[in-house]
């Protein structure tokens, strides 16, 4: 055995079996991006439950030669590719998250004041404005729809729709959605103040009527019948959402409801975050598209907030009992963050004005509205 042979062996091992010689600058950059999102999650506590696994997913897949997002020689998916394939490509995880969300949701405020459903529809304005806006930048119709839904401020819906229509944008769309959802307390208040007068912000709304357990039990059934009949394409999301809520309200499957709300939700969140983060490999992610998506995502949130408040102003023209327009911004979904923002802004205008329960109505309507918008888009491309 000669020295030349040993050197060649070492060289071959270095090139084919270690990552160091294969490390490119773009991968180092993506590791930096991963650190940035981990920083936001850990230090700033911006949606940590999602941004920690997403950030770590980005971190892991951007090392060279890692067997995580590829396929083996026999065609079997590697570790995170398997999470992605069976969780997201098969559209399972977003629906399971909707199941958990349904089990967590108390529809009482929405049932007590069904008028707030219209606010949830008005707050989808940004979804459609963004959809048209990105078309001017050369996005395809499917891509435009997946970017537009970011404004719905509903992470699982964004992931579900993007995985279906434009899977190559999944990472950027999910990151934009969750980042801006975390920034709702920064984005919404200035728009809310701009669109309302101090008198309007002080409007006091009547105490919501009590909702009986039987009414809450029947709500998921009635809502599922109406929504799925009108938009069958939304059945996977809405069906799971209402099933989760039915388990919660029926009271006879407390263990299942508890599992859906906690253990199951936490498990799928880990796989969801890792899978989404892992789609952001340097060679796929580093382009102008994600930057445009982040810009339009911000605009989307702004227009959705505007749309929700505008809807309340229009409704107030016809209503005897006026609605406080601050709750309009809660129509963007982002449960319960945006409802809390409405409440906080209301307290600033009048320390005796408690809007939280009133804002939960449009907030929940926003979830139904954004899922409906997603269903509309899916139906459009069928």
């Amino acid at each position: 055995m000669s020295w030349a042979y040993v050197l060649e062996l070492i060289k071959n091992i270095m090139i084919t079996q270690t990552g160091i010689p294969n490390l490119a600058i773009k991968e180092v950059f993506m590791v930096g991006v991963a650190f940035f999102f981990l920083y936001l999650a850990v230090a700033k506590k911006y949606e940590p439950l999602l941004l920690v696994p997403i950030g770590f997913g980005i971190f892991l897949v951007n090392f060279p030669l890692v067997p995580l997002m590829g396929f083996s020689e026999h065609g079997n998916p590697e570790l995170i590719r398997a999470f992605y394939k069976y969780g997201i490509e098969w559209e399972i995880i977003p629906c399971v998250i909707f199941l958990g969300l349904g089990a967590m949701t108390d529809f009482g405020p929405l049932i007590a004041n069904p008028k707030t459903l219209v606010i949830g529809a008005g707050a989808q304005l940004g979804v459609f404005i963004t959809y048209i806006g990105v078309l001017f930048f050369g996005f395809t119709l499917k891509e435009a729809a997946s970017v537009g839904i970011i404004g719905g401020a509903d992470g699982p819906t964004t992931i579900y729709l993007t995985a279906k229509l434009a899977p190559h944008l999944l990472g950027a769309n999910a990151l934009a959605a969750y980042s801006y959802m975390a920034m709702v307390p920064l984005i919404q208040p200035p728009i809310m103040r701009l669109m309302t007068t101090p008198e309007q912000r002080r409007i006091k709304m009547r105490q919501l009527r009590p909702v009986s357990a039987r009414e809450k039990l029947l709500f998921p059934l009635i809502a599922a019948i109406l929504i799925i009949l009108l938009i069958p394409a939304v059945a996977p999301l809405m069906g799971m959402f209402m099933f989760g809520n039915f388990m919660r309200e029926c009271g006879v499957v407390k263990r299942l409801s508890d599992t859906a709300q906690n253990a199951l939700m936490n498990i799928v969140t880990i796989f969801l975050g890792l899978s989404v983060g892992a789609t952001m490999q340097a060679d796929k992610f580093l382009s102008w598209k994600p930057l445009l998506i982040f810009s339009f995502g911000l605009m989307d949130f702004v227009v959705c907030t505007f749309g929700g408040i505008l809807t309340v102003h229009i409704m107030n023209l016809f209503l005897k009992e006026k609605i406080n327009p601050l709750i309009g911004s809660a129509g963007v979904s982002a449960v319960p963050m945006s409802a809390r923002v409405s409440h906080t802004e209301g307290l600033k205008a009048d320390p005796d004005n408690w809007l939280i329960m009133h804002a939960m109505g449009p907030n929940l309507a926003g979830v139904i509205g954004s899922a409906s918008a997603a269903g509309m888009f899916i139906a459009m491309f069928q």
Partner: protein
């Protein structure tokens, strides 16, 4: 207004990284425009022949499911149909986005030299405004709108019928040789579709949620009526019971009750019956709530907030 705008800017763009992302994206927009193609949505038709008809199965642009287009010919023999990459026919006057399905090269034979033949394309993917555009690179203006008839058939099918003259402008080989080569594809307005669907679907959400709202209002009224009935039933029982008790304990006729005792009984009855109904909490008008009430209310609402304090969504 200026102050508010300043606050908006401060809030939203005060984060340096948001501003950097936005600025970079805006300056990058023209480059981005050019960078995004429709390549990811390129339709790849698969052809199959059934007798004198040829079918193309393809996934058009902006669709997730496949569609079928049937080709047939009258006054000629349909020799074959093939797909054509749009890049080969790309000209400034046309936009690939308007051609949702592929471009086709259709070969016809057995045409009377110099005569006409009709080519039909039938699909439920076409709509009544779909046109057929023809590409002929031998002409100075390569793209021509054919005067294709758009016929509505049963089962939501539309048929485009293009009349082509052997050696005419629609015949790409340009020769009077009994053979016709027709190159082109069905065209729909991309922006018409995009804007149309925008309005339809946005108002569609209003319609869906309004129907749900009506359903909930109706069911809410029903449940409130049930609740009122139940409460009324309880009151009636109580009143009946009280009447029965009063009747049993009533003194024999002719015995007069002491007026003070009667007043006490009346007051007791009133308090009892008034206690059955839930009286609304009255807020004294014009007076600010005390510090203890504000603190209590804040504590109560903070506890309610915890119910909605979830982070996963």
């Amino acid at each position: 207004m200026n102050a508010t705008a300043g606050r908006i800017f401060g809030h939203v763009f005060g984060k340096w990284w948001t501003a950097v992302i936005l600025a970079t994206a805006l300056t990058a927009a023209p480059a981005a425009w050019a960078a995004f193609g429709e390549v990811i949505e390129k339709p790849v038709p698969e052809f199959s022949r059934q007798g004198d008809r040829i079918s193309a199965k393809l996934i058009p642009r902006a669709k997730s499911t496949s569609v079928q287009i049937q080709f047939s010919a009258a006054g000629a023999e349909l020799l074959d149909v093939a797909g054509l990459d749009f890049e080969k026919a790309e000209r400034p006057e046309v936009d690939v986005k308007n051609f949702k399905s592929a471009l086709f090269v259709i070969h016809l034979g057995d045409v009377i030299p110099g005569g006409e033949a009709k080519v039909s394309l039938t699909s439920d993917f076409f709509i009544s405004s779909t046109q057929f555009y023809v590409f002929n690179e031998t002409l100075p203006q390569s793209w021509i709108i054919s005067d294709a008839a758009n016929l509505t058939l049963p089962d939501r099918m539309q048929e485009l019928v293009v009349t082509v003259k052997d050696g005419g402008p629609l015949d790409s080989d340009g020769k009077v040789d009994g053979r016709i080569t027709l190159v082109g594809g069905p065209r729909d307005s991309f922006w018409g579709y995009a804007l149309g669907t925008l309005f339809i679907r946005f108002f569609g959400i209003f319609i869906v949620l309004t129907i749900l709202m009506l359903g909930m209002i109706i069911s809410g009224l029903f449940f409130q009526w049930l609740a009122r009935r139940k409460v009324a039933g309880v009151d009636k029982t109580t009143a009946d019971g009280a009447f029965q008790i009063a009747k049993e304990k009533a003194p024999p006729p002719g015995v007069r009750m002491d007026p003070a005792m009667a007043a006490a009984v009346a007051a007791a009855l009133h308090l009892h019956l008034a206690g059955a109904a839930v009286s609304p909490v009255l807020k004294p008008s014009g007076s600010a709530p005390g510090s203890w009430s504000l603190q209590g209310r804040a504590q109560m609402m903070a506890e309610r907030l915890l119910v909605f304090n979830r982070k996963n969504h």
